[in-house]
């Protein structure tokens, strides 16, 4: 059985299943994968050894709020994704797709991104 590798850093999770960066993605200069509104902590890409790609048409703030897919391109080995509270993630060189945790709003009956 083929196993799916998953890397987790708090409420952010990465899998390795993308072969190339889609044409509708562009490099993001801020390098923030997810941002905590209350704690102000961030899941952050070390731009010296990795790049963050986000969908071209979507504003980054909306992208964060709606848990849109982002892609981390790891160019060199090292601690490519850091966070103030969580241990840093070290990936082999390659592309990683990012998934953000969501939850269910019992009262509005809608999905929402886990806000932190």
């Amino acid at each position: 059985m083929k196993k799916l590798k998953v890397w987790r850093q708090g409420d952010v999770l990465f899998t390795q299943r993308i072969q190339e960066i889609p044409k509708d993605f562009e490099k993001n200069k801020d390098g923030i994968v997810a941002f905590g509104e209350v704690s102000t902590h961030a899941h952050r890409v070390d731009k010296t050894i990795a790049n963050l790609y986000v969908k071209k048409s979507i504003d980054l703030a909306i992208s964060h709020a709606t848990a849109e897919l982002m892609i981390v391109e790891c160019l060199k080995e090292g601690q490519q994704v850091t966070h103030e509270e969580h241990e840093s993630l070290s990936f082999p060189v390659g592309l990683y797709d990012n998934h953000k945790q969501v939850e269910w709003d019992w009262f509005s009956k809608m999905e929402r991104k886990v806000k932190d």
Binding site: K3, T15, T40, H99, D105
Partner: protein, 365 residues
């Protein structure tokens, strides 16, 4: 050119870290005359006239007063922000002068020791929780950094332009410089932190200013005032579950105590796996489900409750795609994986029939 620090100079790092951290965290009233002297000196260095100084009791009231006055005032000169010329340009000028006088390795060594240490204690824990950019005492990290070069490496000339800002940093809070007018704020008079240096108090403001402007925080997480000023046993736990921010939910649950929290709300454990539990709570007439997830980060063991759907219909509404639903909505692990959109469907495709076992959180932090 300073090529390297002497052992005696290196030994003075802790002294500067302590001194400037204390300045950054000081709750003493501002020394107004010293701040005013510093402002005057800084304006003079920038080639500007001495401004009118308006004192406020907190950064909030300074910001509000400024907004009101600038809105009323027809004199456009007052509206001209000169932060760039009096603060940023001084910082850039001093940086260039000091950099030209010391080797990169010396710069890095002082940066790592003084700048980073004070930054971690002052800016990261206090400022980051309160505002985007800061002045006065919260500039302690970078002013302390250059102060080391001035006092220990005797780079007087190179750091001369900093003297006014150093006075303000040592003696007061925020300052908002405009042409001809400068709003200055008092320092905070309460500052409570946990052993990790994060803003923290479970029963009073973690940070407050003389005019009452306060920040409430539990282990660095800003929470509504009501959860701090209400005793743990009187907190309405249903309100906590309704909080839309997971960090706030977790912070308040930590104040109530997780066991007490669960005891207060009738619930059953639907299933459990990997130290996580799928719980069903009775909230009034309604039954809702929450995923109790536990993990460990750099600081502590943590746990929180993520609201999740209770019925297959709700899951479908959540996902919008039958293929992306857990096979068993009562299975804690399947429900946990379903909190990451798109993963279930992908996992099935990747791993085949036995897909639930194929998921591996190989590096969970």
């Amino acid at each position: 050119m300073i090529n390297e620090l002497t052992p005696e100079q290196i030994l003075r790092f802790p002294e500067f870290i302590k001194k400037w951290t204390d300045i950054g965290l000081s709750c003493e009233p501002a020394n107004r005359s010293e701040v005013e002297a510093g402002v005057e000196e800084t304006y003079k260095i920038a080639g500007l006239e001495k401004p009118k100084i308006v004192w406020c009791e907190s950064p909030l009231s300074a910001g509000l007063t400024r907004a009101i006055i600038l809105n009323l005032e027809k004199n456009n000169e007052w509206k001209e922000k000169i932060e760039a010329s009096v603060r940023d340009s001084v910082m850039a000028s001093v940086r260039d002068s000091v950099m030209a006088s010391v080797r990169a390795s010396v710069w890095d060594s002082v940066w790592d020791s003084v700048w980073d240490s004070v930054m971690a204690s002052v800016r990261a824990s206090v400022m980051a929780s309160v505002w985007d950019s800061g002045y006065g005492q919260h500039d302690a990290n970078w002013v302390g950094f250059y102060s080391y070069f001035k006092e220990v490496c005797l780079l007087d000339k190179q750091t001369q332009k900093l003297s006014g800002i150093e006075k303000i940093t040592k003696n007061g809070g925020w300052w908002l410089p405009h042409k001809n007018i400068c709003w200055c704020s008092e320092r905070h008079n309460t500052l409570l932190r946990d052993d990790q240096g994060r803003l923290h108090s479970s029963n009073k403001p973690a940070l407050s200013y003389p005019d009452g402007f306060s920040i409430y925080a539990i282990h660095g997480v800003r929470v509504p005032e009501k959860y701090i000023l209400t005793q743990a046993e009187n907190i309405n736990v249903e309100d906590v579950l309704k909080e839309s921010n997971a960090e706030v939910r977790m912070a308040v649950i930590s104040k109530v105590g997780f066991q007490k929290f669960k005891e207060k709300i009738p619930h059953i454990v639907v299933s459990a796996k990997h130290n996580n539990e799928l719980l069903e709570f009775e909230l009034g007439d309604e039954k809702v489900r929450g995923l109790l997830v536990r993990w460990t980060d750099k600081f502590a063991d943590k746990q929180t409750i993520l609201p999740v759907p209770k019925t297959r219909e709700e899951f479908l509404q959540w996902r919008g795609d039958e293929d992306d639903l857990p096979d068993d909505i009562n299975d804690c692990e399947q429900v946990r994986i379903s909190t990451f959109p798109g993963l279930i469907k992908k996992a099935r495709a990747e791993a085949g029939a036995n897909w639930m076992q194929a998921i591996e959180f190989v590096q969970e932090t």
